[in-house]
Symmetry: none
Subunit: 241 residues, 4 copies
DNA sequence: GATGAATGAGGATTCATTCAT
DNA sequence: CATGAATGAATCCTCATTCAT
């Protein structure tokens, strides 16, 4: 895979196909159809469909890292709020975001059977936990958060966020995520935040630009107030599934 | 499907095939092979593979209901602990349990694409939330738990438990579940439990009997020493972060 | 097959199933579904599906014979007109009749591959040709028809009628049958009928009662003006496919 | 389907398979077996077996058109005779021809249930009627035929020809077609032909080349002696009636 | 007689992957 | 690089027929 444009094209196509069909029903043809290239070419660039998907996960981690960089300048509690909302609500329009999470979940689902996926997914998960811990640790250092075990809390936090999202995707009809978010603030953050600090609402930085990569329009400035819709697919995030 | 023995045989075979192959790679042949019947018989009893799997989900709900009944006599905090541990550690031997949850997760993953599964899964989810709420409500009534919003807390609880399990299944190498459990007790239950009540450890009743359920020989034992750390990946490799 | 009631029930069910599905898609289950008996019973009464269908053709011949008897008292030219219109337009409501002819045509289509069907169908065809010849011969005797070769003319007549009907069924969008009928009168009958005889219009006797047989309500009086709809299926004819 | 060679190969294989098994028992494997290609390739070129068969019907229309062009130079009565004999006796050796018409009849039989077939078959039928009308119309113009309604007569003509062939195929043991042909000449053509014109015997051009059509080597020979009585069942067993 | 259960032998279709050009 | 053509191995599902009861 020498040409990054080709890779981008394939990754974008994979993203779209995954959203539409889900992993279980994803065929090489589905991906090729969203490309101006042929199906055979996929096998020229990748040894197998599995390899391609594994690279796709890796690709998402890269996008996630780019997104993380954008939040560096926020205060810990702002970062925490941003992190939570990004996780629960993601970015992009609703339908696509849901589809995408669903598809990613399917890839995760294959992890126990598939070492390659497992490896890539763990990489993305490690990144996620590191960030959460870093935020908590920073907050303790700055005094915004009470003292506690950041590693354990990060584990709890992510379990809850992930569980909430998955349940919303696979089961819920009502606003399950809203319920969980509200309970999280009341039961978990209330303890964690220092006396005089309250949990900030809705601070989402720019979306992770998944598709924009191709034409290189995504600017990864660290600013947190520039949020605009950036491409027709609403792009997505979640390098950290 | 008049004969319950046949249904049980098919369900058990489905359970085993699902554990071994996962949903994505589950074939009608895999199921038939674990039966002394032919593949065609599956289609005699079910109109499609999908129908069969949907019935399997329903079958699990029935088993769950039976299990729930066994915990009716415990105190709310005991029930809560039992519920948590059942959720996190399940029953059955380790490998099988993991396999099974993995397969179930795959089925859940199909829900957004498959109305039938969605319907059955929601049924099972409703049951789960009801139970959690009931436990919390009872605890508030008896004074074991502090007063709080049981519905919201139940949502939070289940999100966390589900997330923890899913992450352990799909990503974790270390004892992720143990970490989350510990954090849950510290950050959530600590608030919920009344001053003088502490969270009971490891109250697992007998396993939900999936394979031998027909003759219902499992009797509820209140013993609290049956739990052991149980992940094969080695626990508490906290340094890994 | 001792019990004629059972045979009638099966034949009626076969008739209905044939109309609905056509021969190619006719399954034993389709027939059983239109019976209050089970599919297995069909194989108790017949050695194979093929046998059953062969008997069905035979059954139709019997019905056809009954119908023929009703026209005995008409004059040759009346009988000829009746014969033509019965052949072209049949009886019963339009949709059902079409369905039935289509299905019968499918059975005929199998004749080259299936000796049993061929045998039964030839029996019915012989009957048809005999009748046509008899009508022509009688007409020559009574002087209503000019002298000609009745056998050859019968062959021509039936070829045309059969072809017209088949084409209407399988191809035509317009009133193809009407066209042919009109051309037949002008080009064939005009020659055959004696100077002072004209071709009578629309003299259809009672329908052949296919379903009524069970409860035996069909009266086979020779009157030609009693035509009434007789059963819910519009019954049909065409023992003579 | 860019490569006409491959299409030809598939069409030829379909033709052969159809002759041997009939439509009802035609499987994709039967077709592939008559090809040096695999069964999957059929589905690479066609979305379904049905699509393939529909294209086969279309293919026949193309062949028919080619054949028609070859008769343009004959006089109307010669063309009429050629048309009749082509219809009744077709081309190819006896067995093959019968088999082929039988299979085509089966396909026609599916028309009421299958829109695709119906559409293709109507196209072929329209062509047939046009040709017949054209011949009649030309004859009237040249004075070879008496004045009459060409459309109606064409309808009659084709009904008779089609009926005769179908009956021969599906029912007759004797030379039914010969009988009908003879009656047709006597009862229909006798009226149509002008006083001094007689119906030419056996003007069959070369066969429609189904298998070698690609290289179009068949040249129209006006020879009139190629026709022989041709049914294997023995002709003129008139006593059988 | 009658039936529910059971099955073997297909048959259409799908799809990852290969390969000649 | 790129592709159209090709294929083998599966997989779901159908259905006539059998059989124990």
């Amino acid at each position: 895979m020498t040409d990054p444009d080709v890779r981008d094209a394939i990754m974008t196509a994979t993203y779209e196909a995954l959203c539409e069909h889900g992993y279980t029903d994803l065929t090489a043809q589905d991906i090729a159809d969203r490309t101006d290239k042929s199906k055979s070419l996929l096998f020229y660039h990748y040894d197998s469909k599995e390899d391609l998907v594994a690279d796709f996960v890796d690709y998402l981690v890269e996008r996630f890292d780019e997104w993380i960089a954008e939040t560096r300048d926020l205060t810990p509690s702002e970062r925490l709020a941003t992190f939570v909302d990004w996780f629960l609500y993601g970015s992009g329009d609703d339908d696509e975001r849901q589809s995408f999470h669903t598809a990613m979940l399917e890839i995760r689902t294959q992890a126990p059977y598939n070492e390659q996926y497992r490896k890539e997914l763990r990489k993305s998960d490690d990144r996620l936990r590191e960030i959460a811990e870093e935020i908590l640790r920073n907050g303790i250092e700055t005094g915004e958060f009470t003292d506690h075990d950041p590693e354990e809390t990060a584990a709890l936090l992510i379990a809850t966020l992930d569980g909430a999202r998955i349940r919303q995707l696979t089961l819920a009809e009502d606003d399950y995520i809203g319920q969980v978010r509200s309970a999280m603030v009341a039961r978990i953050f209330d303890d964690i935040l220092a006396e005089d600090v309250s949990f900030p609402e809705g601070l989402l930085p720019d979306e992770i630009d998944i598709e924009g990569g191709v034409d290189g329009t995504s600017d990864l400035g660290p600013s947190s107030e520039t949020r605009q819709p950036e491409d027709e697919h609403g792009s997505s995030e979640d390098g950290a599934e």
